[in-house]
């Protein structure tokens, strides 16, 4: 029925089409346009380029990682002198018996467990603070905070390494000047922060806090702005202190935002690579690897073991995907997909 109407060249959707359609043979372009419209192909054609690019450069490589993780992909396979062979779960069992893997996994988990709450707490406190300031001060402080967020990761990492440098770094100098009851003293002179895991990850904690809190603060502030002032006033009249006010009023209202921020922070901090790579000084110190750097070192130090690295990468991806599922569900519940 609909088809027969549209089959007549004179009845295109727009008046312009009607006048142009008078010529008997439709130009190829016109016919194509007609085809697209009749089959309702427009959205698919519009989505096609992005879907193709993402499929080729993100989805397919993910599948490849899964495939490589079951193969003995190494240097001979890379240069093509030998074909890759299936080794079943060989790569996985090799990893699970590698103490360095467990060390790296432990470092990643502990690091995320420390940095995520710290960033969330500091970010939320700054967000609450911004909400209480005058409008000009709020604008000023949030612009300054966003500068930290906008600082390139490589610059921020290099600067933090310089701040904690044993020769001439300002942190060691400051710690030697600190009174002993605050933990200061001469033993801090020339203290090297990057030679072992604990001090290195202390620097990394400060670094990720520094880059991470502005985003949380600005997001929390945006959430706070959506809460009507009457609700806070009513709670204050009822005699609620700031602690109760936060946990009984603010937090329940902003819970969806906090959930999203929590999941995003876990994904970012568990999967952190660049900052760790720079602060621990490349791939030299094996006992300072986190999971991402461990995986990278398997693939890109001689001799390359792409199969084993892919197995680690696949484990990392699966862990992050599990958290991402939570993130997607929280986003959908927030009404992100309309």
């Amino acid at each position: 029925m609909v088809r027969t109407v549209h089959d007549q060249p004179g009845s295109l959707g727009s008046p312009a089409g009607r006048t142009a359609g008078g010529a008997p043979p439709l130009a190829l372009r016109k016919r194509w346009a007609l085809f697209v419209r009749r089959r309702r192909l427009a959205p698919y054609l519009l989505v096609l380029p992005s879907a193709a690019v993402i499929a080729a450069l993100v989805l397919w490589p993910t599948v490849q990682i899964a495939i490589f993780s079951f193969q003995n992909y190494g240097l001979p396979q890379e240069i093509g002198s030998e074909p890759a062979q299936w080794v079943g779960l060989g790569n996985y069992s090799q990893i699970l018996h590698d103490p360095e893997f467990w060390l790296a996994l432990r470092i990643s988990v502990i690091f995320a467990a420390v940095v995520v709450p710290l960033t969330l707490i500091v970010g939320t406190l700054v967000g609450l603070l911004l909400n209480r300031l005058g409008p000009k001060m709020t604008a000023f402080v949030s612009s300054v905070a966003m500068l930290a967020w906008a600082t390139p990761v490589v610059s921020a990492s290099v600067v933090f390494v310089w701040l904690t440098d044993p020769d001439g770094g300002v942190v060691d100098w400051f710690l030697t000047k600190l009174p002993p009851w605050l933990g200061g003293g001469a033993h801090w002179a020339g203290f090297s922060w990057t030679n072992s895991a604990l001090p290195a990850y202390t620097v990394l904690t400060a670094l990720l806090l520094w880059t991470g809190f502005p985003f949380i603060a600005v997001a929390v502030l945006a959430g706070l702005k959506t809460i009507p002032e009457e609700i806070h006033d009513a709670a204050l009249v009822d005699g609620a202190g700031p602690w109760r006010l936060f946990w009984r009023v603010t937090y329940p209202i902003l819970k969806p935002i906090f959930l999203l921020l929590l999941l995003l922070s876990v994904i970012w901090d568990f999967g952190v690579f660049t900052q760790v790579y720079i602060v621990i000084g490349g791939l030299g110190n094996r006992d300072e690897y986190n999971l991402g750097v461990y995986e990278y070192s398997k693939a890109f130090t001689m001799p390359p073991a792409y199969g084993i690295a892919s197995a680690v990468a696949f484990i990392l991806t699966i862990i992050l995907l599990i958290i991402t599922v939570g993130y997607v569900r929280a986003s959908v519940r927030q009404g992100a997909i309309q």
Partner: protein, 301 residues
């Protein structure tokens, strides 16, 4: 009766108000001091980077660090700009970074705009699937994908070339760009497009003449995110660009520089200052619009 009560009531609130005003004043000062502390914590690393870049070597390695250089010098910048430390001047790396970043931003903005129109204007079969796919793709760890992309690009002969990086950055900037742009497209009233169609404009004309100018501010905001991502990207550049230092982008240059000249902090800080300042200037210029976009993204998911 009523008058006495009014009087009694009038005195007490006034006293309370005064006390309240006093405590409010101290609280406001306290809050502003806290805010100042936040500002200092945030600015100190940036300030110290710039300050070190202007210090002569004797001051950099002195036992008591100075906040401000006592004898500021441009020597560090000179060494970075003329390339005496690494063999290539800074401009080469800036050029590489700009080529890669601008090409990736242009390509991803164009492709994303098409997708955003589809998602914001049409209901189609795999729409929800597509949107969820974008959310998931955003979260895939790049240090995992770099393995297979390295091997693929190796066989395609795209390593050690800026084209390879452009392609990868375009793909990885797409999800966020589409996700943010669709809100801007959805904000353009459909009636305007319908009016244009009634006036005889075809879909192409409607797109170029009506939709594009109206979405342009949104396009600027989202492209800044793509810009920051591509300008800062580290893992792919580190892995793909290995052999030829003349192909390095700025992040790799700063890192390589730091790895090689572990002791020359003056030059390293000068290099990272030159790397950082353009982003910050760019960011401050567009800050208000950006924060709105960022927040919209955060609050809406």
């Amino acid at each position: 009766m009523t008058t006495t009560r009014l009087k009694a009531g009038a005195v007490r609130p006034a006293a309370r108000r005064r006390r309240f005003a006093w405590s409010r004043r101290t609280r406001r000062i306290g809050l502003n001091l806290l805010a100042l502390l936040v500002v200092l914590f945030t600015l100190f690393p940036i300030f110290y980077m710039v300050s070190t870049a202007f210090k002569p070597a004797t001051e950099i390695y002195s036992l008591t660090p100075h906040l401000v250089p006592a004898h500021p010098t441009l020597g560090n910048f000179r060494r970075v700009l003329n390339g005496s430390v690494i063999g290539y001047p800074y401009w080469i790396f800036l050029r590489n970074s700009l080529i890669v970043t601008l090409a990736a931003v242009a390509a991803s903005s164009l492709i994303a705009l098409l997708a955003a129109v589809a998602v914001a204007r049409f209901r189609f079969r795999f729409r929800t699937t597509y949107l969820i796919m974008l959310l998931i793709v955003q979260m895939l760890p790049q240090q995992a994908l770099v393995i297979s992309l390295y091997l693929d690009f190796r066989s395609l002969n795209l390593l050690d070339s800026l084209v390879g990086l452009i392609v990868v950055y375009t793909a990885f900037a797409l999800p966020v760009t589409i996700w943010m742009l669709r809100n801007f497209v959805a904000a353009v009233p459909r009636e305007i497009e319908e009016a244009a169609a009634i006036d005889g404009a075809g879909p192409m004309r409607t797109f170029w003449r009506i939709l594009l100018p109206l979405v342009a501010p949104g396009l600027v905001a989202t492209s800044v995110f793509a810009f920051i991502f591509a300008y800062n990207e580290f893992i792919f550049a580190l892995t793909f660009l290995g052999v030829d230092a003349a192909k390095f982008t700025l992040p790799i240059y700063v890192q390589y520089f730091y790895g090689r000249n572990g002791a020359d902090w003056g030059a390293i800080m000068a290099a990272s200052t030159l790397f950082t300042i353009p982003v910050m200037a760019f960011f401050l210029l567009l800050q208000r619009r950006l924060t709105t976009g960022l927040v919209a993204g955060a609050v809406k998911g």
